[in-house]
Symmetry: C2
Subunit: 305 residues, 2 copies
C-alpha cells in the first residue's frame, strides 16, 4: 500500500457516550464522531482506551462496530480497536471491523500477563493476521505500557515488518516517551508512528510521522488541526505551545472522567457523565477545577455534539 | 454462613490442559482436577491466572464451567474464576458458576485501567453481587497486583465486609507479601485470607487463615497437604521448609510454562505443553534446568493425570 493512502493527521481516541444504564448511546456516538470529523479530526480511533473498550463485552463492541459500519461515517477514517486478552476475541473483532468496511485496526497486545516475551507477542499478532486472512487488513500496534505492561521494542517491530509488510503498518505510542517514538521513526521511516498525545504532534510531524491519536483531541481537535495544517509554517511553534498548555490542563484530572465532565459541561447534557466502573465520574469540585484550568488557556469549548 | 463451612486447606490454581489447536481438553481437565483432589488438594481454583482464563473467550470459559458442573467433581470444592475487565462478562460468568453448582467464585477486579479508585473497585463488585442476586454466592477477591495494578486495601475490604457480609468472604493474596496477608487477617479474623503461594502456607495457618491457593500446587499438592495435615505438630516447620525449597525451584522458570513442562515430563505426554500465546512453552534446555532444580529438592513427581 503506498504511503500516501495511509492515515495521517489528527485522530481522536473517541469517547463512548452511554445511557444511564451504561449501554452505549449509539445515536450520540455517531453524532460525536461526526462532530469530531467536522471539527478538525482526520480520523477516529473507535473503541480505544478512552472509549472504554475493555469495559464492554465482545458482543457490545461488535454492536458498536456494526453500527458505525451501517452509518454514513467514512470508514476509511475509522481505526477500530480490536485487541483483547483472548486471541479468539481479537480475531472476531478484527474480522468484524473489516466486515464493517474499516481496513485499519488498532490492536492492543493481550494485557493480562506481565513479563511476556517478544516471541509471545509476535505469536499473538501473527495468529491474528493469519486467522483474519484479508489483504485489506492494516494493523496499528497499540503501545500503552502503563496499561498493558508490554512494550513493542524496535526489534519486535522489525520482526513484524519483515513478516507482515504492508499489513502491520504502524503504531500508536501512548507511552508519552517522545524519544521512543523518534527511535522507531528513525529506524523505520515508513512505519506509521502516531504520537498518543497531541503534546508531541508537531515533534512527530517534523520527524516525518503521520500525526497523533489522542484522548484529549475529543476536546482539542480544532486546535490540533491548526497545528497539523500549519506544521511547516512559522506559526507552528506558537500553535503547538498553546495546544500543550491545554493538554497540560486536561492532564490535571483523570482522563476519561475529565473529558466526559467537560463534554457534559459543553453540551449542557449530563448524560455525558455516564461511564462504566471502575472509572467513576469526577466530583463537581474537580470538574470545576478542570474547567478553570482550561479557561486559563487559549482553549474555548466548541459547539459540541 | 458459619465459618466451618467455608473452604479451607490446599487449593490448586489448576492448569488448563489444551489440545494442539489450543481448545480446552475437557476430558484431561476433569481428570487433572480429580487427580489433584485425590493427591492432597482440598479444592480447585478453576480458570485462574494459572488456568490461562483471560486467554479464553467468555464462551470458552462458560463451556469449561458447564463441563465441570456436569462432571462428578464435588462442586463445593470448586472456586471458579469469574472476574473480567467488562462488568457484563463478570456477571455472566458468576451466574454460570452458580448455575453449575459452585457457590465460591474467585473474582479479579477489572484489570485494564490502572490507578483506579477504591470507589471504582467497590462499585464493580457491588454491581456484580447485586446483578447476580443469589444468597449462595461467596466471593473471594483475587488480589494479584503484579497483573492487575490494583490492590484491595484493608479499608476497601472493610467496606466490602460492611456492605456484603457473608457474600464477600475472603481473598486470594497473590502479592507474595506475607505482611499484607497478616495485616488483613489480624484486622478481619473471620475473612478467608488464602495465601497465593504455598511458601506461606504454614505462616497463614498459624495466623488463623484457611490455607493457600497456588499455581505450583499443581505439582506440590501432596507435600502441601502434609504441611496442612501437620501444621500444629512439631513436624510442621521441617515439612514447610522442604515445600519452600520446591517452590523456590519452580519459581526459577516462568510459572505456567514451567508447570506445563513438568506435567508433560511427569505424564510422558507432550500434549501438556499446549498453552495459549502470549505464554510460550519453555525451550528444552530451560525445562531440563527446571527438572534438575526440582530433583535437587525433596520433590518427586507423583503419578500424574
Amino acid at each position: 500500500m503506498p504511503a500516501s493512502t495511509q492515515p495521517r493527521g489528527v485522530f481522536a481516541a473517541a469517547l463512548t457516550p452511554m445511557n444511564a444504564d451504561f449501554s452505549v448511546d449509539i445515536e450520540r456516538l455517531i453524532s460525536h464522531y461526526r462532530w469530531l470529523l467536522d471539527n478538525g479530526c482526520d480520523g477516529i480511533a473507535v473503541l480505544g482506551t478512552t472509549g472504554e473498550a475493555n469495559s464492554f463485552s465482545v458482543e457490545e463492541r461488535l454492536a458498536v462496530i456494526e453500527a458505525v459500519g451501517a452509518s454514513s461515517l467514512p470508514m476509511d477514517k475509522m481505526m477500530i480497536g480490536t485487541g483483547c486478552c483472548a486471541l479468539p476475541d481479537t480475531i472476531r473483532l478484527t474480522k468484524a471491523a473489516l466486515a464493517a468496511g474499516a481496513d485499519n485496526v488498532l490492536m492492543l497486545p493481550p494485557f493480562y500477563y506481565k513479563g511476556v516475551s517478544d516471541d509471545g507477542v509476535f505469536e499473538v499478532f501473527s495468529r491474528v493476521v493469519e486467522a483474519v486472512g484479508e489483504d485489506r487488513l492494516r494493523v496499528y500496534l497499540y503501545d500503552f505500557p502503563q496499561m498493558t505492561g508490554i512494550r513493542f521494542s524496535p526489534d519486535l517491530i522489525g520482526r513484524f515488518l519483515e513478516a507482515f509488510p504492508g499489513t502491520i503498518v504502524g503504531i500508536k505510542d501512548s507511552s508519552g516517551d517522545i524519544d521512543n517514538m523518534r527511535a522507531i521513526l528513525h529506524r523505520f521511516p515508513d512505519f506509521g508512528v502516531f504520537a498518543g498525545t497531541e503534546r508531541y504532534l508537531l515533534d512527530i510531524l517534523r520527524d516525518g510521522g503521520p500525526g497523533c491519536i489522542s484522548a484529549s483531541t475529543n476536546l482539542t481537535a480544532p486546535m490540533a488541526a491548526e497545528v497539523y495544517a500549519n506544521w511547516d509554517t512559522d506559526r507552528a511553534d506558537a500553535l503547538q505551545e498553546s495546544l500543550i498548555q491545554v493538554r497540560t490542563a486536561i492532564e490535571s484530572a483523570p482522563m476519561v472522567p475529565g473529558l466526559k465532565a467537560m463534554m457534559a459541561r459543553s453540551s449542557g447534557d449530563t448524560d455525558w457523565l455516564a461511564m462504566r466502573p471502575p472509572l467513576m465520574k469526577l466530583d463537581p469540585a474537580k470538574a470545576q477545577a478542570l474547567a478553570d484550568a482550561l479557561a486559563a488557556t487559549a482553549f474555548r469549548f466548541a459547539e459540541a455534539a
